[in-house]
Amino acid sequence: MKPCRLLAVLLLALPLSAQVVVDPGPRGGTPDAGGPLASVAANNPFKILDFFLNAEQRFQEIGSVKGTIVGAPDDGLGPRFNALGCARCHAHPAVGGSSPAVNPQVADGKAQGAANVIPSFITSTGVIKEARFVYFTDASGNPVTSQPNGQVMPLFTIAGRTDSGSCTTAFIQQPNFANAVAKNNIAFRIPTPLFGLGLVENIDDSALQMVLTQHYTGPYYVGGTFNRSPNDGTISRFGWKAQNKSLELFAGEAYTVEQGVTNELFTQERPSPEENRDQGPGLAVQCRLNPTPEDHTNLDVPAEDTPSDTVMFALFMRLLKPPVENMGNPATNPNFSRALNGSTIFIDIGCNSCHRDKFTTEPSSITPDLSSKVARLHSDLEIHHMGTGLADNIQQGNAGGDQFRTAPLWGLGKRRWFLHDGRTTNLITAINAHQSPGSDANPVILNWSLLTPTAQQDLIYYLRSL
């Protein structure tokens, strides 16, 4: 028997269980995301499109310390930062998305002659990362378990840049990431996609609470609770742990933490957690280079230039249209019917319990396409225990070390990296990671394991259609 014929016979003889389920990877073709809601594109109400376009342009601007660098007009960068602009990270598959194929942090950390060392976990083909230290450390660099840290440790400083002035390495240094990695004292987050967030913002708490009740009466026990605003007790819903109540807060926090730009919500230059520790010295005066807040309402300009960047970033997120689900053309996509089958299996095994397919928004005062619309976000916006395997040991609000907001799955078909820390590019690995001691999702993953390989593959095709 010829070798190739023997191989064919052997393959046919393989039991069903030996079939390999594969993730085909990010869906090709058009981005199926990005750009304004249809009512915004139609300029309803009058002038809203001008505001959106202005916001989109600001979202893509590159930052520099004083705004004096050619091509980097957005002032206020640093003294610590993770990237030079919003769209550096929120880029794929369109402006407002998540991590692109090439990580811009490698270039951003060295831009304008900056003296930064690129941390070992940042690579040009890897995912964009934000880092947090789990614990503060002692003089020897050992984690001190009685002193949880949990705050963002920006990767880079402006020291060495041509526009850094007095802020030199004598006054500001990068955290010791090599030690943090060696001591496993570090947790990562990747950028969340921003498409459709105006719809998310406009879902009433009562609708979310109704779904939570169904967790406790349905055939799948998945627990769940809400993270809540410490100010008014209402349900917060943005960020990996649903730690932010509103898009404006989300934007203001990111602007100061990721780019170092003080704003009307976060008004002081942010020292590193270490500089603030034990009533420490704070940020060196040599590195406080601009009057604060650096981003503010512009009172001397007309119309859409008046609001601050923070307000316009929030507006941009609010008016971005949601991702488009795309199973392809039934006539030309051989996997169309399998993806359709997968949408049923998604419900059968209980994914839909937490990755709730849709909510209806409330009447909106902003634009018709935010008003009483169906948002197919595939998330209950609750925080769930995800177990020891996914725990990052960072507490934010009421979300403990292993609790995360159910990640919305809209746009998943285009995503390159999965889970809060971007640990995998493979959907199957991401699914299996939902199972570990302490996870709300354990029964659902057992249901996934009950499926035939064909049914599992159908589900993967469905997920890549989102």
């Binding site: 269980s17 789990v134 614990y135 050992n142 984690p143 378990t145 949880p148 949990g150 060696a182 001591k183 496993n184 004292n185 009562s206 609470q209 109704m210 939570l212 009740t213 967790h215 406790y216 009466t217 055939p219 026990y221 627990g223 609770t225 809540r228 410490p230 007790g233 089958n341 049923t344 299996i345 419900i347 059968d348 095994i349 769930h384 177990g387 020891t388 395997g389 725990a391 040991n393 960072i394 507490q395 609000g397 009421n398 403990g400 070390g401 292993d402 609790q403 199972q435 001691p437 302490g438 996870s439 709300d440 354990n442 029964p443 057992l446 249901n447 394991s449 009950l450 499926l451 049914a455």
Partner: protein, 288 residues
């Protein structure tokens, strides 16, 4: 908690943060003492799962193995007690999830297992096929409400058994693809024991019959803190179990409850222990 303590000791010795451990747990369960049984403290041994709080002994079907532990009790009174699964030829064939729902803190209005079973049935998609078979069965001398159905597309089958214990619902959810395996698991459920020795349980007794109480002082985090208490024959708190609370909240509540006094619960002219519930922080969420 001892495991966490040991991990912290290990961490101190090694100088590195251990992997795959929850060191910053958020809201967790706690209790006023370590001797009174609590629902989340079931144990496995001798081929049986035992839960002293519910008086439950569940003989694990032959060939079934324990699965990763569930999450801590929820702030809505939900418990994952344990989970087992069985495999054949390296393929999962079926699993059983054992859960409990504290009816004092549930986010729905239901008097017990019968209503909860009906609610669950109401959530089953219309395209699913219900099996023939009884809606009620008697196991361990108790009435269990039974739901059995199949999802035609995925081929998954469910058999769900729910009963009432100690003002909780106790549910066994079997899921699998093989009828024979599910039949055998259902048959093995016949070996279940529920001894039923427990204080009488009365919803809202503590709320309505407090004589003396002081408000515990803790910062409001806008979380719901459900607390099961056993009140002794003198009206004192004999035992308190906080299902879900941050450590500073637990400490403040347990300290305050030491001073609380209630009217003793009386049955046939005689004071008896009573088990009831209290909620601190954000009120219980109930969607009607």
């Amino acid at each position: 908690m001892p495991l966490l303590f040991m991990m912290v000791l290990w961490l101190s010795a090694q100088g590195a943060v251990p992997k795959d451990v929850i060191l910053v747990p958020g809201a967790v369960p706690s209790a006023s003492d370590t001797t009174t049984p609590v629902p989340e403290a079931g144990q496995l041994g001798g081929g049986r799962y035992r839960n002293a709080y519910f008086g439950l002994t569940y003989p694990i079907p032959a060939g079934w193995t324990e699965q990763p532990a569930g999450p801590p009790p929820s702030d809505a009174g939900g418990y994952v007690l344990t989970q087992f699964a069985t495999m054949e030829e390296q393929r999962l064939k079926a699993h059983v999830l054992v859960t409990a729902q504290d009816l004092f803190f549930a986010p729905f209005e239901a008097a017990g297992a019968k209503e909860l079973s009906a609610m669950t049935r109401g959530q089953v998609p219309a395209r699913y096929e219900f099996d023939k078979g009884p809606d009620q069965v008697t196991i361990a001398g108790r009435t269990f409400y039974r739901l059995a159905y199949k999802a035609p597309v995925s081929g998954l089958r469910w058999r769900i058994f729910t009963t009432d214990v100690r003002c909780h619902t106790l549910t066994f959810t079997f899921t699998g693809t093989d009828v024979a395996v599910l039949d055998a698991a259902e048959k093995a459920l016949g070996g279940l024991a529920l001894d039923g020795k427990a204080p009488v349980c009365v919803n809202d007794y503590a709320r309505d019959h407090a004589v003396t109480k002081t408000t515990p002082a803790f910062a409001n985090r806008y979380n719901t803190i459900p607390v099961r208490v056993i009140i002794d024959t003198e009206g004192k708190v004999k035992h308190a179990h906080l299902l879900s609370a941050f450590p500073e909240q637990s400490q403040a509540i347990l300290t305050a409850l030491r001073d609380w006094r209630f009217e003793p619960y009386v049955v046939d002219g005689k004071a008896v222990e009573v088990e009831t519930g209290l909620v601190f922080g954000l009120p219980r969420l109930v969607v009607r």
